[in-house]
Symmetry: C2
Subunit: 333 residues, 2 copies
C-alpha cells in the first residue's frame, strides 16, 4: 500500500477504472464483500488499487449506503482513569469490527445541546454514551436523532439499550467481604449521588448492610469522582469511627486512603477500605486497594454486539457481574 508516494489528490474509482479498462462499478464491487464479481476480476482490480494507491472514499460511500461506520462516543469525564481505560479498549474493539470512533467530549455547564448538534449532523450510526452525568434521556434521544443510542456503564430511566456493571452485586460483594473480615461499623463515601449508578450502588450497599445487621455509622456525599472528594469524604467520616469504608469508586478510595494514612489511621487494621472499578492504580503496591472489578471486556463485548445487531429486542438492559478483588486495604496480609 505504500508503494506509491501519496499524490496530493487521491485517485477516484472512476480514474482507477479508466486506468485498467474496466467500469467504475467493477471497482466498487471489488471492494464490496459479497458483491457479484468474479474472483479473477476482483483480484485484478485490487492489485491495481494496491499499485496505484487507490482506497475507496468512505465519505462518498456514506452518501449512498446511509451508513457512516462511525460510532459517536459521548464522554464528559476523562479525569477519572476508569474512563480512558474504557475508551481505549472500546475504540480498539470498534476498530476491529470496522468502526471508527468520533469522540464527543461534553463539557459540563452551558450549551450542552449546542455541543451535541454535531452528533446529529455527522450521522454517526450509533451513539455510545459513557458519560455518567450531564445528559438526561430526553436530550440523549434528541442528540441521537433517531439513531441507536447505547448507554455504557450508565443507567437509563427509560428503556434505552444499556450495558452496565451489576452494581447491586458489586455493592453486596463489598458488604459481604466487610462482614467476613468482621467489620461492623461501616462508612460510605458516595460519588455523584444523583446519578442512577450512584443511587443503585448506595441503595444496594445499605440494603445489604441491613440484611447482615451491620451498622452504617456514617455516609459522606461528594460532588464528583475525584481524589479530592474522596480525601474530604474520608475526613468527614472519621468522627463516626468506622472500621470499614466503602468508596463508590476507586478514585475516591485513593483519595480516602491518602487522607486516612495522613491522619495516622492504619489500613486495614483500624479501617478497611474498599473501592469500585479496579482501575490500574488500585493494583499498584502503593495503594493495594480492595475493589470490585468492573467486567470491562464483557461490557465492551456487549456494547459492540448491540452496535452491530440489526435490532435490539430483548436484553435491552444487560447487567454484567464483576469480581471482588481482595487486596491489602482490607486483608491484613
Amino acid at each position: 500500500m505504500m508503494s506509491d508516494e501519496s499524490p496530493a489528490r487521491p485517485l477516484t474509482s472512476r480514474e482507477l477504472a479508466a486506468l485498467i479498462g474496466v467500469s467504475q462499478s467493477a471497482v466498487s464491487r471489488a471492494f464490496t464483500p459479497g458483491s457479484s464479481i468474479s474472483s479473477k476480476l476482483r483480484a485484478r482490480i485490487l492489485g491495481a488499487a494496491h499499485e496505484y494507491g487507490y482506497q475507496p472514499n468512505a465519505i462518498a460511500s456514506m452518501m449512498t449506503t446511509k451508513r457512516t461506520k462511525i460510532v459517536g462516543i459521548v464522554v464528559s469525564d476523562m479525569r477519572n482513569p476508569f474512563y480512558p481505560a474504557l475508551i481505549e479498549r472500546l475504540t480498539q474493539a470498534l476498530q476491529r469490527v470496522g468502526f471508527q470512533s468520533l469522540l464527543f467530549n461534553i463539557s459540563p455547564g452551558a450549551r450542552i445541546e449546542e455541543q451535541l448538534v454535531a452528533i446529529r449532523t455527522y450521522n454517526v450510526d450509533t451513539v455510545i454514551v459513557i458519560s455518567a452525568t450531564i445528559l438526561d434521556d430526553r436530550t440523549l434521544n434528541w442528540a441521537a436523532g433517531g439513531r441507536r443510542a447505547i448507554l455504557l456503564n450508565r443507567l437509563s430511566h427509560q428503556d434505552m439499550p444499556t450495558v452496565c456493571c451489576d452494581n447491586v452485586a458489586g455493592a453486596r460483594a463489598v458488604v459481604d467481604h466487610f462482614h467476613a473480615i468482621d467489620r461492623h461499623r461501616i462508612g460510605y463515601v458516595a460519588g455523584l449521588a444523583k446519578t442512577a449508578v450512584g443511587m443503585t450502588r448506595q441503595g444496594a450497599f445499605t440494603t445489604r448492610l441491613a440484611e447482615l445487621g451491620m451498622r452504617l455509622v456514617g455516609s459522606a456525599g461528594s460532588e464528583a469522582y475525584t481524589f479530592e472528594a474522596g480525601w474530604q469524604g474520608a475526613l468527614d467520616l472519621l468522627a463516626a469511627r468506622p472500621d470499614a469504608i466503602f468508596f463508590a469508586s476507586d478514585i475516591l478510595a485513593l483519595g480516602g486512603l491518602g487522607a486516612l494514612r495522613a491522619a495516622g489511621v492504619r489500613i486495614p487494621e483500624d479501617i478497611a477500605v474498599a473501592g469500585f472499578d479496579d482501575i490500574v492504580m488500585a493494583g499498584w503496591p502503593t495503594n493495594d486497594l480492595t475493589t470490585y472489578r468492573q467486567p470491562v471486556d464483557q461490557l465492551i463485548e456487549k456494547a459492540i454486539e448491540m452496535t452491530l445487531a440489526a435490532e435490539i429486542d430483548e436484553d435491552r438492559l444487560v447487567l454484567l457481574p464483576g469480581e471482588l478483588i481482595i487486596r491489602g486495604s482490607t486483608s491484613g496480609d
Copy 2:
C-alpha cells in the same frame, strides 16, 4: 432545537426549501457563513430549520467542500495519564473551533498500516499524532495521504509540523534544581529510550549534568512509560547510591517513589525524586512529586493554530517551555 420529536429520517435541505417555498440553494446559503443572502431570508430559513428540526447533513457537505471538519487523532498509549488529559483538552478545543475528533487508537504490534487505512479513507482534514512511538515519519506521511499531519508532543526526524514541549529546557531545569538543593550523585530512569523525545530529554539531562560538574552515577532503561518500569528502574539504581533521581516521566516517577519508599528510602532526605509532565497524580499529597510541567494549554493552542492555518511556512517546529513545579519529593519542607 428540541421542539420536535426526532423523526426517523432527518429532513433534507430540499425538503425544507419546499416546505417554506424557497430554493434549495437558499437553505444551503442560510447555513453558510459569508454567503450572499439577505439577512431577512436567512432569518426566515433558520427559523424554519429550527422549527422543523433541520440540520445540514455534514457528510453530504463534505462531498462538495472536500473538507470534513474532522481531525484524526492518532494515539497509542492511553495508559499514561498524561495522554487522556491531553486528548480531553485537545478534543474540547477542537470542538470549540468546529472540528470533531476521530480517534485512532493504534495497537502496537502487527498490521499498523492496516489500522491506518481508515485515516485515509475517512478524509480527515488534519492528522494530529500524539503517539510517541510506533509510527515513523514515512508511515505517518503515508497515512495522512497528502493531508496535513501535525506532531504533538513528539519529534520528527524530518520537518513535519511539530508542537512539542521544550524537553531540553525541562531536563536542564531539573538538573539545575538538583544542583540548587545540593545533590551531586544523580540517577536517571529513561522512558522509551529510542524515541526522539526520550533521547532529547536524556541528552539534555546528561549534558547539563556535565556542565555543572555533577555525576551521573547510574542510568536505568525501561521499555515503557509505566508505573512498573519506574519501580524497576528505581531498584536498579539503588546500588549506585544516587542522592537524586530524574525519571523521564511522572508515571515512571510514581513507580520509582513506590519502590524507594518500600525499600525504606526517605524522600527527599536520602534521595530526591523528580518527574516530567506534571500529571494530576503528581500533585496528590500522597505523591507530592516535583516535576516539570508541560505547557498543555499552549501546546494545544499551537496545535489548533496549525490545524486552522492555511499554510505552515515558518515555525514548523514549535518548542514551548514548561515550568518546574517544586514539591516535597525534592524539597525538605
